[in-house]
């Protein structure tokens, strides 16, 4: 195996799980996610000589997100649900399970762009300017899209005045604010 191939194989092994996870968040479908993550890595390998010395993961991430949003633009998406599901009481099930259930339904309420912005901002932790660059939109659009998406998710972008860190913030997710 050529040296470049070895490098790519190492890179792909290291990042495929994260890409697959992100693809699942973007698509909500295991099979579509696998296809999207694979496509991202195929194109990354095709461009490996060009991107290996740069930020290869950023390249793969950008291909992934744009591939998914392109598919949605082509009408291959599952349509968003109208309402964010209510989160069941924390005492009903384990917290992680509760979060998963809420997340699947909540992401399904977003548009393709909103979903992409949320995943890039809060899964990949990218700054707004990077999100704008990778999605080919303005920073202002990132801000407004993120704000709109968080409102749909009923997530507060900032801690409410007077709140203290360490409180059980789960109770504010997936439920109407008073």
């Amino acid at each position: 195996m050529a040296r470049g191939d070895e490098e790519f194989a190492e890179f792909a092994h290291a990042c495929s799980a994260r890409l697959l996870h992100a693809a699942y968040l973007l698509t909500g479908n295991r099979h579509t996610a696998e296809d999207a993550a694979q496509t991202a890595l195929v194109r990354t390998y095709a461009a490996w000589s060009r991107v290996r010395r740069a930020d290869a993961f950023a390249y793969a991430r950008q291909v992934l997100v744009n591939h998914v949003t392109d598919r949605w633009r082509l009408g291959l998406r599952e349509y968003a649900t109208g309402d964010v599901p209510e989160r069941p009481g924390a005492a009903d099930v384990a917290e992680e399970v509760t979060l998963r259930r809420w997340l699947v339904g909540a992401l399904g309420s977003l548009t393709a762009r909103e979903r992409a912005v949320i995943v890039m901002r809060y899964f990949f932790d990218l700054p707004e300017v990077s999100v704008a660059h990778e999605l080919h939109i303005s920073v202002g659009t990132v801000k407004s899209t993120s704000s709109r998406a968080l409102a749909k998710l009923r997530v507060q972008a900032e801690p409410p005045p007077g709140s203290s860190a360490g409180t059980d913030s789960i109770t504010t997710i997936g439920q109407e604010q008073p």
């Binding site: 495929s16 996870h21 296809d35 194109r43 490996w48 992680e96 998963r100 913030s169």
Partner: protein
């Protein structure tokens, strides 16, 4: 912890669904094909943008016991409203009987003229026919050696183009009456039809019914009417 922290935690929590693992070898195989196509297209200066994709040869395998025995499909006359430009059908359009929202999947040959490929005169186009109109979605042709040398040529992995899925397809030069391949450990049989312009050319495709995961079919094998395994031609698996 803020609400955003909880959102982050939810996003990063291990998904309930088993996401499985990606096949890195398969990724590199497909990525290599993309890379080769780009090089060829770059070499041709973009003048023959849709005319220069190629896949060559997959190694032969042993005959299996396919669950279905697709029959050869008759080639139909070219649709009167087909593209008349670069992607105009060269000979008859082959109907596959495979349908989705885009219409019926069809294959047809197109002429190839490029200085970089002096031994390639035609390629195979995968597209859809709907309301009498043809689309030109994925084209594949030989790029190494004579395009009618005995064996497999222009084998194209399953892909999608213009929003339409196109299953694995290619052509075989020789008296093949059965073509098979392996996917997920199972040997499956391809649909096929002879090209109206040159009856020694057999255009084949693997139906999504037999390969619902759209995985690359490998271990291609062609057989003549006596059941004898025919030469695969080039022997580099996955090249193209």
């Amino acid at each position: 912890m803020t609400d955003l922290d909880t959102l982050r935690r939810a996003l990063r929590a291990r998904p309930a669904a088993d996401l499985g693992r990606l096949d890195i070898g398969q990724i590199m195989l497909q990525g290599g094909r993309v890379r080769r196509r780009r090089r060829i297209l770059a070499a041709s200066g973009g003048a023959v943008l849709a005319a220069v994709l190629a896949a060559v040869v997959i190694s032969a395998g042993l005959p299996g016991r396919p669950g279905r025995e697709p029959h050869p499909v008759p080639a139909l006359a070219p649709g009167h409203s087909a593209d008349r430009g670069r992607n105009a059908p060269y000979g008859a359009v082959i109907s596959t009987g495979i349908r989705d929202s885009a219409g019926e999947l069809v294959f047809y040959a197109v002429k190839v003229h490029t200085a970089q490929l002096p031994q390639t005169t035609f390629g195979v186009m995968g597209g859809y026919r709907r309301a009498g109109k043809l689309t030109a979605d994925v084209e594949s042709n030989e790029f190494s050696g004579p395009d009618t040398a005995p064996g497999f040529h222009a084998v194209q992995s399953p892909t999608s183009a213009n929003g339409h899925p196109v299953p694995e397809f290619g052509y075989y030069a020789g008296p093949a009456v059965k073509i098979t391949g392996v996917v997920n450990g199972q040997r499956i049989q391809a649909g096929h039809a002879r090209w109206s312009v040159n009856r020694t050319i057999v255009i084949f495709w693997f139906s999504p019914r037999d390969n619902p995961g759209a995985h690359t079919v490998t271990g291609l094998a062609a057989y003549n009417a006596q059941g004898k395994l025919l030469p695969a031609g080039h022997s580099s698996p996955g090249v193209g």
